[in-house]
Symmetry: C2
Subunit: 360 residues, 2 copies
């Protein structure tokens, strides 16, 4: 079923040209490991203030980026690598990138929700303020103060909802920051960094892997993606205003929303596919087709972000003793973000359709 | 600007074939007046119970339908008719159709909102229940009882929101029913009915109108429509998930929503255009092109209904001392209906575009 979608003339995964081998994979892994170590050094140099500096945030992003790519390669090309080493390494890398991702996720979620509240209030002054406020948070400005400044443009309900979300998500972000700092100072992390340092010079390929073809493994990753996409409700998603994302929006079990799970799964599989292409082709493989994958991936990132923002609004509405006006604003905000979820699915369907046409 | 859209080969308003004259208009007005009197007789025969029977509701719809058509013809073809008579008649017919429309509007609004609450709660059992409940209301069943039955499938917040809306809109509907009954028994209405009885046999055409061409007047109605449509933000509306309808969704002045007004105006102009074609061509003019006008008109009806339902949800959220869970559900419901507004604008844009292509 998925096989028929594969294009033998694909310049990256097709059969034309010399096959990328385990040696290419080893080069890719060494480069990613070197990038991991560079980011780690940068992170230590830029320090780690109360809420993190811009430089350390950038370093953390680079650390996550290389950790994700190493972990993905270990998954896709596992048969070419030492099994015990892979099985020991992957959960550790997932723990690193997952732990480092939380602080950024809470910051982005708060920005998204405050920006939506301002849009819903008809305030046009917000986007710049939101950026300033977020920068202020990063630089350690008191959260209460920025929240008060922002509330100037909002109605009472929206202002109270914004303050509540600001309080809850700033607290979560601060905790995530502490957790990340603790993680980076832990012996568990030092052991991972040591293993990555070894990887930067010595990749544990199996005996026959150096000359083995990478492409069957990369194609298998693509097939897993295509199978998962085929199971998505793409006909519904491609019909605008289908109102599917808000079904169950008032049911008790909305956090997390069960209907979002297959889309989150496709997001992960798309990333694995993209990294597999990268590993098999090197960075020069980022051609037009890759841009399409990127835009499909961006739609799925937006889907994930809106899904989690909607859940945060629903969660905040369960805070005891809030005013009805606050709860009303959070309800509007929740529905708005669920429609963002629906819009992101539509955008993915459009991007994916373009890709299917172009690679056939 | 609008003129270039007009198609001289339009089988109904074009220059081909014999021109429809004031005589045709007189025949149309006589037929509509006869229909008005028939509906009035039917309404008196079917009685007018506490909440109206199915037969009297049907009669009221027929009364409104003919009143709207007579009033529209008086507007579009005023130069062909006695000026004083027109000016005296039009506001009276508008009062009749407006007063008779309210009860049905509240019934439909409650159905729409309860149906949306069930959809948002993920309850699939609702559509049939909603119909039964609405029928129950019409037959005078106690509102509290049906509301309780429906709440079985809802979460607490959605159930309380549904009960609140049921209470408020049932009260409004009952008042509208009494107002309509009073209106139909008033001397003001009897004077209108007498004038319509005269119109059924004797149409006050001006001296030259019997042989005058109806088409320039019908075309002027079409131009007014096209000018108003040209001023709508159709590029935004045609881009799915533009999120425009929910902007200002949390601003204090959302009832009524100012951005909806030009769409409501186009809805009225579209109806005037449709009735002008009807008057100039007779009922056999209802061809394919008319079906397109109908689907554009249906989108604008949906726009109006969703706009008013969203306002009712926002209004209900201002009820003092409601629980936060109720307010949250009403916020979700408000946003859902504002997205229905956006979806209706998209549907109108699609229908209008089809029409523009086909009549050029």
């Amino acid at each position: 079923m998925a096989q028929q979608h594969l294009d033998p003339t694909d310049p990256q995964l097709g059969s034309a040209g010399p096959a990328p081998t385990g040696d290419v994979l080893a080069g890719y892994l060494r480069a990613q490991a070197t990038e991991f170590l560079r980011a780690l050094r940068l992170h230590r140099e830029t320090g780690s203030g109360a809420n993190g500096s811009e430089g350390s945030a950038e370093a953390a992003r680079a650390l996550r980026r290389s950790a994700r790519r190493i972990s993905a390669s270990l998954h896709t090309f596992q048969p070419l690598l030492d099994t015990d080493w892979c099985e020991g390494m992957r959960p550790e890398l997932a723990w690193v990138s997952g732990t480092l991702a939380m602080e950024h996720a809470y910051t982005a979620r708060l920005e998204r929700l405050l920006s939506a509240l301002h849009r819903l209030s008809g305030s046009t002054a917000f986007p710049a303020q939101a950026t300033e406020a977020a920068a202020g948070h990063r630089a350690g400005a008191p959260a209460g103060q920025t929240a008060t400044q922002e509330r100037g443009n909002l109605t009472v309900g929206a202002a109270k909802a914004g303050a509540l979300l600001d309080r809850q998500l700033t607290l979560a972000r601060t905790r995530a920051h502490s957790t990340a700092l603790q993680a980076l100072g832990s012996s568990r992390f030092h052991a991972i960094a040591d293993k990555v340092a070894v990887l930067a010079s010595e990749v544990p390929l199996t005996a026959t892997a150096a000359a083995a073809d990478l492409r069957p493994h990369a194609r298998a990753a693509e097939e897993r993606l295509r199978d998962a996409v085929a199971a998505l409700p793409l006909i519904t998603a491609g019909s605008p205003y289908n109102a599917a994302a808000l079904v169950h929006g008032l049911s008790p079990d909305t956090v997390p929303h069960p209907q979002d799970a297959p889309w989150h799964q496709v997001r992960l599989l798309l990333r694995l596919h993209r990294y597999a292409r990268e590993a098999a082709c090197g960075p020069q493989g980022n051609t037009v087709v890759d841009l399409r994958l990127l835009s499909a991936g961006q739609a799925l990132n937006r889907h994930r972000d809106a899904s989690e923002a909607a859940a945060a609004a629903a969660q905040a509405a369960r805070t005891p003793r809030i005013a009805p006006a606050t709860a009303y604003a959070l309800g509007v905000l929740h529905a708005d973000q669920r429609h963002e979820v629906e819009a992101a699915r539509f955008a993915f369907q459009q991007a994916w359709q373009k890709e299917a046409v172009s690679t056939r």
